[in-house]
């Protein structure tokens, strides 16, 4: 028996009750949280040790293979976690018709920011100035 069989036909038609996708969101929020513990500590530690670096030293570090891999993982986990976390807050506090637009804005912004950060890091790794040709 499927879970939504417990709903009345009226309740099912109006879309009330669990959409059954909630656990996936809850779980991925935890998965990204666990991934972010070592990744953010690495990032914070790097900020400390790189405090005195000049531009060329920072670029050399940002462009090294290990940094690119960890930075891509960090940005992916970070903006995924942000999208899920902010969705919980939005679900709890916004009950007007604006909710869907706020949710969409958060989702798209997270995708845009995560992707932009990854692409910027790849530009650094391959030694191409990002402003070139624009």
């Amino acid at each position: 028996m499927k879970r939504y069989d417990l709903l009345s036909p009226r309740g099912r038609a109006s879309g009330l009750g669990s959409a059954n996708a909630g656990f996936g969101n809850w779980w991925m929020e935890r998965v990204t949280a666990i991934a972010l513990v070592p990744l953010t500590i690495w990032f914070a530690g790097s900020l400390i040790t790189r405090s005195s670096d000049d531009y060329n030293e920072v670029i050399g570090w940002l462009g090294s293979p290990l940094t690119v891999i960890l930075m891509v993982l960090l940005l992916t986990a970070l903006f995924w976690h942000i999208a899920l976390g902010l969705q919980v807050v939005i679900d709890d506090y916004i009950h007007s018709a604006a909710k869907i637009w706020v949710l969409l804005t958060v989702r798209f912004a997270c995708l845009l920011l995560g992707l932009t950060g990854i692409i910027a890091n790849l530009y650094i790794a391959f030694g191409v100035p990002m402003s070139g040709g624009a």
């Binding site: 914070a44 400390i48 005195s52 531009y55 932009t116 950060g117 100035p129």
Partner: protein
Amino acid sequence: MEGKARKPSRPRSPNIQIYRPQLTSVLSIAHRITGIFLSLCSMSVVVWLVAAANGPASYIRFQGVIGSWLGQIVLLIAVFGFFLHVCGGIRHLIWDTAHGFELRHIYISGWFVIATSLMLTLVFWIASRMVWG
């Protein structure tokens, strides 16, 4: 559910404005506030990467903003917020394994989160200043 017009507006519980703040409730809302604040701060990580990819001029401009007194204050708040969110997050992960729910343990872990976050913020700040020179 016949539409919003028929829904009476009843008082909501708990009435936050007359509720005495407790460690548990303060840490709960702090986790959300730091989460929202750190989401905004994450944007500056992307801006930082784009500035670095753009070239030395835009990178130095970015450093100027972060190095200003306002930038440093925001950074200090962000560092403390980050450690509070990480420590609070680990506390939540432990709760997810169904451990530490006894009221005494909830208060112990709560104060532990605050003390550890303050200590780590101090260590972070002093260490980066020492490297900065």
